[in-house]
């Protein structure tokens, strides 16, 4: 895993053996660049790269590549997300070449939430490729310098290839094998679904380590601090693939009025401490949803600052 494939900061940090910290920033529901800049500004120098979501939960937003470019101009390294729901393979390849040409060096390949959850549930979904095949596509274009039809690419895209995995979706015993499939297809780093059920995650990581997967790819543990009880209950009930144990909700309930957010952060800090010591974990993917301004504080308290310069 030592040779640099993309030259991205995230790739360098991970390959130098540092414990990585990545963040996330959702593009605005409009062309409001200032709002995006304001949110992203909190992350400058605090994380190694920032995921830029692609119409997350199937709600239309500024495109991921455009928002990634704005971040790049701010001196923030983006992790360009792409879902399979909204593009066929032609559009995918065009955007892969486009983002690489603009200097974007990380890409996360995802299936995408079903459009039923979004604000245009009457739309047609694409799914020409699935996330596994998208990973394979990026690797083929980058490493073989070829399109899937065998035609040569004049200048190959340079991207560090990422994927997601959700250890909390059934069938549990299959998840680690699906992770292995993604790695074989070309995934070099993994950002997991938000983790709340620590028992299940420990079991997942044990299996991944037993299979040696942590030696073939960098696994970043997904952490999303709970802001409110409402958020915790909503995630437990309505967000696909989320596993929020009743014990965590009870703990947040017990925090008392005005103290839930701090309790949520406290839980996240405890998680990060455990992940630092957990075999096979190469870093944290901190998704502070619409709470970007809290990331510097969380990173500081988790003793993850300053970020390494590589």
């Amino acid at each position: 895993m030592s040779e640099l494939k993309s030259g991205s900061n995230l790739e360098k940090v991970l390959k130098a053996g540092h414990f990585a910290l990545t963040g996330e920033c959702g593009p605005p529901k409009g062309a409001n660049v200032e709002h995006l800049r304001e949110k992203a500004a909190h992350l400058v120098g605090v994380v190694d790269c920032v995921n830029v979501t692609d119409n997350q939960t199937a709600v239309v937003r500024m495109s991921s590549w455009a928002a990634s470019l704005i971040l790049l101009q701010m001196g923030i390294e983006p992790n360009f997300q792409m879902v399979c729901r909204d593009r066929n393979r032609l559009a995918m390849m065009a955007d892969i070449l486009g983002v690489s040409a603009h200097g974007i060096r990380n890409m996360l390949c995802l299936s995408g939430d079903h459009q039923k959850f979004g604000n245009h549930p009457d739309s047609k979904n694409v799914h020409d490729l699935d996330s596994m095949q998208l990973i394979h596509l990026v690797r083929t274009m980058r490493d073989d310098g070829k399109f899937p039809n065998g035609e040569e690419i004049d200048e190959k895209p340079k991207l560090f290839i990422g994927a997601a995995e959700n250890p909390f979706a059934e069938p549990y015993e299959w998840r680690v094998h699906r992770l292995a499939k993604k790695i074989a297809a070309g995934a070099e780093f993994i950002q997991t679904q938000c983790i709340y059920n620590m028992d299940r995650f420990r079991e997942f990581m044990k299996r991944a380590v037993d299979m040696g997967l942590h030696e073939k790819c960098y696994i970043l543990a997904g952490v999303t601090p709970m802001k409110t009880l409402g958020m915790a209950r909503y995630m437990a009930k309505s967000v696909p693939g989320m596993d929020v144990p009743a014990s965590l909700i009870k703990r947040l309930e017990g925090a008392g009025k005005g103290k839930v957010a701090e309790e949520g952060i406290q839980f996240a800090l405890e998680q990060i401490e455990e992940f630092k010591a957990m075999e096979g974990i190469a870093g944290i993917h901190l998704m502070a949803i619409e709470w970007e301004h809290k990331v510097p504080e969380i990173a500081e308290r988790a003793d993850l600052l300053p970020r390494p310069k590589v």
Binding site: S111, D130, S131, L137, E170, K181, G241
Partner: protein, 229 residues
């Protein structure tokens, strides 16, 4: 078989109300099995429309009829008179039948009285569910006899995705996750190795993406020519 569902009566009424003579025309094969588009259903729909016309005080002559299959030439002969005698035909065949009728009687307005829903099975009396998306390149041998194109809401080839929730699809707890079913089936058969393998990008040329599809049996074509010759 092809499953269909009659359009709501109000919608059908809006389609027919401007014509003087209407023929409600059933198709007695696939869509008769789901009790939506057969000749019996044409008779019932005809009665409902006559009542509607009476209630609305609109003067329409509404006849009903039907044939065995609206997707083959040979069955139309006996109904040609009824079809020619109507100002418009309300067909409750599948979309193929409606179009074929239109091709055979190009001067006759043809109205769809049924929505073609899917290719499916009869789960229980009155219950039907989808099984085949007609992609034209079957991979059921790789997926335990369960189709990921049809049964997965995202038609993914290397599932299940992270939205599988207690065996259900993320879109609804009433929809089983297709890939969960595939996993359980293959596990039961001791053949999980089939999905450990990466399934490459699908060639959608054989699906609708390749344009309207056509197939020709050369042997049968020749037989016909010989017979004619």
């Amino acid at each position: 078989m092809i499953v269909g569902k009659q359009k709501p009566l109000e919608e059908i009424w809006d389609l027919v109300k401007g014509y003087g003579k209407i023929l409600v025309f059933g198709c007695n094969t696939c869509v008769a099995v789901c009790h939506e588009g057969g000749n019996k259903e044409a008779e019932i729909l005809g009665s409902l429309l006559r009542m509607k016309a009476k209630h609305k005080e609109v003067n329409i002559d509404i006849k009903d009829g039907g044939i065995e299959r609206q997707c083959e030439h040979e069955y139309f002969e006996k109904a040609a008179g009824d079809i020619e005698g109507a100002d418009a035909v309300l067909s409750i065949a599948c979309g193929a039948g409606v179009q074929f009728l239109g091709e055979k009687f190009p001067h006759k307005p043809v109205l769809p009285g049924l929505n073609t829903t899917f290719i499916g099975v009869v789960d229980a009396p009155g219950e039907f569910s989808e099984r085949c998306a007609m992609c034209g390149d079957c991979i059921l041998h790789l997926t335990g006899g369960i189709c990921p194109i049809t049964r997965c809401s995202k038609s993914i080839m290397n599932g299940p995705c992270g939205g599988c929730n207690q065996g259900s699809c993320e879109i609804s707890s009433d929809v089983p996750c297709g890939w969960y079913l595939i996993y359980e089936r293959l596990k039961g058969q001791g053949r999980l190795e089939l999905i450990h393998a990466y399934i490459p990008a699908k060639n959608w040329v054989t699906s609708r993406d390749g344009g309207p599809r056509k197939q020709v049996r050369e042997d049968m074509k020749q037989e016909k020519q010989t017979a004619e010759g």
